[in-house]
């Protein structure tokens, strides 16, 4: 047993040296990383002081400033490119984009971005795609579309961002056909459609006619970018055999707005057996003051399942005096319909 203890002590001595070496190594790494961070911060401060005003002048078209940027040391170039390109994420004014693109070209950074786009490392391909998109290099559209089929998911999503930024209608089919691609993040798919807006509509309608199996996705897409042009198609889809399609079509109609035919279909859908469909039908009738006596139909649903009832209540409030009149008989009740009616009447009065 003493031998065992002795062995443990030997291990402990060995562990002491290992621990000492590990702790010292960690401390050194922490200090080195910190020094690196401080050095980088100083570099960025120096760069900002020296090149910040030059960038502003260059963007205003000052040839001297552009020349100074072009002659900047090569190890400044990447940081300067970031400073020029990243503001374009929020500032999408065409003149600013064009001015930045000219400066980037003049600084000979395009070949570098091309090299990065062909790099085997995904973390090089991603910023290259973002740069080409933000700077709207239309002649790189083919490479951006090709990147949608990249092996790496990060690159594919970056390509989608880039195509949304590029805003080239020629690339629209490539985006729309990937509407159902679940390997692309759904937020990015929605953002790409939103970037093109109603430009997507025609292509979506065309595709939906040849691919009815994916109708629910097309209806959801039309919620983002549909206009009155889609209304008749969406009206047809409210008779689809699938509940999900009918609900999505009504949701899209709620966004686009109704006409008499759509309103009649929405009122009819209030009697559906599917909660989601009834809820979307109630949402679609938001603000509808046309024919069909929507207020009385909606009021019947104040005691329905919560998703339906709350939408019906909001729709009634939005209809104005006729909606409020339909709400009043319910306001004295103690149930869900009563509370909803009181809230909507209170909201209507508060708005006045």
């Amino acid at each position: 047993m003493n031998g065992a203890l002795l062995n443990i002590d030997r291990v402990a001595l060995w562990a002491l040296w290992a621990g000492l070496a590990l702790a010292a190594a960690m401390a050194v790494i922490v200090i080195i990383v910190r020094l690196g961070l401080i050095a980088h911060q100083r570099f960025v401060r120096r760069l900002t002081r020296r090149y910040g005003p030059l960038i502003d002048r260059a963007l205003r078209g000052d040839a001297g400033a552009i020349d100074s940027l072009v002659r900047s040391p090569s190890h400044y170039r990447l940081e300067l490119a970031r400073r020029l390109i990243f503001p374009l994420v929020e500032d999408r004014r065409p003149d600013r984009i064009a001015a930045t693109r000219d400066i980037i070209r003049a600084m000979s950074l395009v070949p570098l971005a091309d090299r990065w786009l062909r790099s085997r490392r995904w973390w090089r391909r991603v910023p290259a795609l973002h740069a080409f998109g933000l700077l709207q290099f239309a002649d790189r559209a083919r490479q951006l579309v090709a990147a949608l089929d990249d092996d790496n998911a990060e690159v594919r999503n970056a390509a989608l961002d880039a195509l949304a930024d590029l805003h080239d209608p020629a690339t629209l089919p490539a985006i729309v056909v990937r509407l159902h691609d679940t390997s692309l993040q759904r937020g990015r798919r929605a953002a790409a459609l939103a970037a093109f807006g109603s430009q997507c509509e025609e292509f979506l309608l065309e595709l939906s006619s040849v691919d009815p199996a994916q109708r629910v996705n097309y209806a959801k897409a039309l919620t983002i970018c549909g206009t009155v042009r889609s209304r008749s198609v969406l009206c047809e889809w409210t008779a689809d055999a699938r509940e999900a399609v009918r609900a999505a079509a009504l949701e899209a109609l709620a966004r686009i707005g109704l006409d008499d035919r759509a309103a009649a279909l929405a009122i009819a859908a209030l009697d559906s057996s599917d909660v989601q469909e009834r809820a979307m039908a109630a949402a679609a009738l938001h603000g509808w003051t046309g024919g069909g006596d929507a207020p009385s139909h909606l009021a019947r649903h104040l005691g329905d399942s919560w998703p339906v009832a709350v939408r019906a209540a909001h729709a009634l409030r939005s209809i104005g005096p006729a909606g409020c009149a339909a709400l009043r008989p319910y306001a004295a009740r103690d149930d869900q319909a009563g509370v909803l009616a009181r809230q909507m009447l209170w909201d209507a009065e508060a708005a006045v």
Binding site: M1, G19, A23, V126, A191, W306, L340, R342, Q343
Partner: protein, 465 residues
Amino acid sequence: MSLTGVIAVFSAIVTTYFVIWNVWQMAMGAAGMRFVWRYQRRRNVRSRALVIRLASPPLVSVVVPARNESLTIVESIRALLALEYEPREIVVVNDGSSDDTLSVLQRTFRLVPTPLAFDQPLKTAAVRGVYRSIVEPDLVVIDKVSAGSKADASNAGINAASGVLVLIMDADTMLEPDALSRGVLPFLEDQNTVAAGGYVGIANGSRVEGNRVFDAGMPRSWLARFQIVEYMRSFLLFRLACASQNAVTIVSGAFGLFRRDAVVEVGGFSHNAIGEDMDLTIRLQRHFRAQRRPVRIAFVPVPVCWTQAPEDLPSLRAQRCRWRRGLLQTLWRYRGVLGHPRYGAVGMVVLPMTAVFEGVGPLIEVAGYVVTTVAALIGILDWSHYRILLAVSVLFGASTTLLAVLLSDLTSRRYLRGGDLALLCAAAVLENVGYRQLNSWWGCVGTIQALTGKSGWGPMKRRAF
């Protein structure tokens, strides 16, 4: 077996535990490092802009349970109303405050009683009234009878929330301006995301204005300094490692963003859970995995919010004993998940390791100190060897914490002053001499409290910034 034999066997157990613990910490460090590396390359300025590019970003309901918070509540709400993320509503739940929290809110925000109707899928104590603000349309105040738990207040807030996502936070949590846009991203990227947590920083010693942390700095109190490095270790080693394997088992109560429908589906926060945040997180994992539905709980490795750490021993002791009771209760409740392959990395790795290192760990540590000291006192163990063992423990502990400090530098780049770095490094070493042992002891006390059924929060002193 002789006393020497017993001690030798025990030493072998402690040594094995110690080796596995350190290997586990280093493995988590490596996993965390990889996670951070990927996160930083994925989250550039363009990808963070996804939220502003969407036609309609998801509405987030910020639920703020408040009980006797009349001194700080107005400032907290003003900071929330100034968040960069626009589609949000603030739902304050006055949980039976005995002070003038409600009247302060009524005066400041011109609240008026309203017949606000909302679905109530989660059972809570009675709601006494609902108020809306005339000056801040995004503010809703729920006044309810207290059920004595934050869980009940949070559930009432979730009921009233109209957002797709609900952020559950503490009334004294200080959010970073971009906390919501960062937190929302994982939900936009992956439709299987049901919750997202974030790195919670300690605000003691930092410059705070208008409920915002402007300049992170080290506090004067060593107790708070130790907690800063401890939080770094907890968030940047353990949680990052869990997140890298999609096996997060705790979304902090200080900042937890949840998909409302998922929370309602699992029944909301548990009323009788001591660690309601861990309880809900594991319940979400269990529920979705048991039904073989894809689930993701994300973690944002940059500070999304700041909280105040206790600077006095009684408050810290009460907090640690409560955390300990919560941990043991949760491990016991979800013992069916432990070692079950259906629950993936949660059941096979994270919970078993949590049970060993967090559940049993403090008991082994304290027993190790006692037995080693006794062995040295009665002459079985040489004093020089005793000192070596202690030094090894300190050095490995310090190495692990320094790894967490390194990760903190790489992710958040706070505490950038040289003096702060020196203090962080000193705290990383010194916390192993006294503070860690004290925590282990409190762990034992908490275990006894859990076994004897003790409840309650204990004293908690807070200081004004």
